[in-house]
Amino acid sequence: MVSQAVSAAVEQHPVKLEVSNLEISYDGQPALSNVSLEVRENEIFGIIGPANAGKTSFLKSINRMDMFNPNMNVAGDVRFNGRDVYNLRNVYALRSRIGVVFPLPVGLPLTVYENVALAPRLKGVKDKAELDVIVERCLARAALWDEVKDRLDSLGSLLSGGQQQRLTIARALSQDPELLMLDEFSIAVDPVTTMRIEDVLKDLKNEMTIILVTNLVQQARRLADRTAFFLEGECVEIGETEALFTGEVKDQRTRDYVEGRFG
C-alpha cells in the first residue's frame, strides 16, 4: 500500500474519484494490480510511467470502457462522486460526465462543427445559437478555433493529425465534463500547440478535475498537483509532484524514472 501525500491546498477539496484495490486483467493476464488512490476536485492528477505500466487501462476502468472489450476484466472499487461505477444503472450518464482524449486522434467523419456539437446534441441541446456558442468556446479552448473557423463545414476526419487531436480535445470539452482524462494527448500535437493546450489545462483546473497520463515527465512536472508513478502494472508511488522531482521519494525506481535513468 502506497501512502498518499496530499498537499494542504488540494486537501481542502472533496474527493472526486476514489479507487481502491483496483485489479485489471486481459484474458487473465494482469495489467494493473492493487491500485488505490484518490483524485480530488479541481486538481490535475498526473500519471507517469513507461509503456505497459497500466496507465491507459487505469483510465479505461474509470469510465467503464471495459464494456467495449470482453477480454478486459476489472475488480476492485471505483467511485466517482462517491458512486460505485461498477454498480451503476446509467453508465451513459457517467460517460457523459467524463471527457476522454486518447493518444491517437479520432476525428469523427462528421463536419468540424458536428464533431463538437455532437455531445451537446446527445444531451438534448437543440438551439442553434446555443450550439454555436459551445462549438466556438470549445474549439477556442482547444487552440483550434483560429485554424478552422472558416471551414467548420469541412470534414473533421480530413484535418491534419495535430488538428484532429485538438478537435478531439474540443469534443471532450464540449461534454462539459466534471472529469477530463487525457492520455498522452501531446503525442500527435506539435510542441508550440502543446504549450498552448497546457496553458488551457491550467485554466480548466478551476472548472473540472483532470487526470493527465503522460510519458513526458516534464509535462507532469509543469502541470500536475500530484503525480502517481506506474510501473509494470503497479502503482509504485503517489506524491506531490514537486516532491517527486526534488527527490523526496520513497522508492528508488521512481527516482530513477524521473531522472531518466531507465524507461
Binding site: 457517467l94 460517460r95 479520432v106 469523427l108 467523419p109 455531445a119 446527445l122 478531439t168 469534443r171
Partner: protein, 296 residues
C-alpha cells in the same frame, strides 16, 4: 566515376533471373485474366448479334402473341419488376436489421457464431431447394397460393444472406475507434449507430442491395415453383396474383414452345442481361462515387 560505383548498377545473374521469373508470372496471370473474360465477351457478343434484331420499344412494351412465337415481353418485364420490388421490400429491412444486430449489438459468443455460420450456409443452399421451401412454406402453409407474394418471399429468403453479409461488412469497415469515441461521450449504441456508423456505411449497404437486385432478377427456379406462370392473358393486379417473369419466359421460349423464331430467345436474354448489367453499372458507379469521397 570509379569502377566500383559503376558496377553497382550492373545487372547480375541473380537480377536477370529474378526479372525472367517475374515476367513469367506476369504473363501467366494476364493469360488467366484474358481466359476469364472470354466467356463473358462471347456471351454478350452472341446475344447482341443474334438478339438485337428483335429489340425495339414495341418488343419491350407489347404482349407476346401467336402462342408466344411473336410479339413483345411486356408482361414478363413487368412481372420481374414486381417480383424484385416486393422481394426487396422484404429482404432489405430484415437483412439490414439483422446485420446491424449481429455487427453492433450481439455479444461475441457461441450463439452469435452459430447464427453467422447459419447465414453463410444459407447462402450456399441451392436455389431449387429454396424453391421447394417456398412452395411448402408460402404457397401451401401460409396459403398465399402461387402468387407474386409467395415468389417474392422465396426470393427474399434466398437473398437475405447476401444482404446480411454485405451490410455486416460495410458496418464493420467503420473503424471501432469512431464507435468508442462516440460511446465515451455518453452516446447509446443506437445513437452511435445513427449518428456515426450508418451514415458511413449506408453507401456500402446500398451497393450490396443493388447487387442483390441483379441476382434476384435472374433467378428462375424459385419463381417457377411459387408464382411465375408460363403464360398469362392478363397483367397481375395485386401481389396475390400470378405473374410472368423474364427468367421463366426465357426458359419457356427457348425450350417449351415450338416454332419460335431464333432471334426471340436471344432478344429476351439480351433484355434480361441488360437489366442486370444496368443494375451492376449503377452499383459500380455508386462505389466509385463513394471512393471519391471517402471520409477517413
Amino acid at each position: 566515376m570509379t569502377e566500383d560505383t559503376m558496377s553497382l548498377f550492373e545487372e547480375t545473374a541473380l537480377n536477370a533471373k529474378n526479372k525472367r521469373v517475374q515476367g513469367l508470372y506476369r504473363t501467366l496471370f494476364m493469360l488467366m485474366t484474358l481466359l476469364l473474360i472470354t466467356p463473358v465477351v462471347i456471351i454478350l457478343a452472341t446475344l447482341v448479334v443474334k438478339g438485337s434484331a428483335v429489340l425495339s420499344i414495341d418488343f419491350l412494351f407489347t404482349d407476346p402473341t401467336d402462342g408466344m412465337t411473336a410479339g413483345g415481353i411486356f408482361p414478363a418485364l413487368l412481372g420481374t419488376v414486381w417480383l424484385v420490388t416486393v422481394a426487396l421490400l422484404v429482404s432489405v429491412p430484415l437483412g439490414v436489421a439483422a446485420a446491424i444486430y449481429l455487427s453492433e449489438y450481439a455479444p461475441d459468443n457461441w450463439f452469435t457464431r452459430l447464427i453467422n455460420l447459419a447465414i453463410i450456409n444459407l447462402a450456399g443452399v441451392p436455389s431449387i431447394v429454396h424453391a421447394l421451401f417456398g412452395v411448402g412454406a408460402f404457397v401451401i402453409f401460409f396459403g398465399f397460393g402461387t402468387s407474386i407474394l409467395a415468389a417474392s418471399l422465396t426470393l427474399a429468403i434466398m437473398t437475405l444472406p447476401v444482404v446480411i453479409v454485405a451490410t455486416r461488412e460495410s458496418l464493420q469497415a467503420v473503424p471501432q475507434a469512431f464507435r468508442e469515441a462516440c460511446w465515451n461521450m455518453g452516446a447509446t449504441r443506437w445513437q452511435t449507430i445513427r449518428k456515426v456508423v450508418l451514415p458511413n456505411s449506408i453507401s456500402g449497404i446500398l451497393t450490396g442491395v443493388i447487387l442483390e437486385v441483379s441476382r434476384t432478377t435472374g433467378e428462375t427456379a424459385p419463381v417457377m415453383f411459387t408464382g411465375a406462370a408460363f403464360f398469362l392473358p392478363f397483367l397481375p393486379q395485386s401481389v396475390f396474383d400470378q405473374t410472368m417473369a423474364m427468367s421463366l419466359h426465357l426458359f419457356v421460349v427457348s425450350t417449351q414452345v415450338p416454332h419460335v423464331p431464333e432471334a426471340l430467345p436471344y432478344g429476351v436474354a439480351l433484355v434480361l442481361i441488360g437489366m442486370v448489367l444496368i443494375m451492376n453499372s449503377i452499383s459500380i458507379a455508386f462505389r466509385m462515387y463513394l471512393r471519391g469521397k471517402k471520409k477517413w
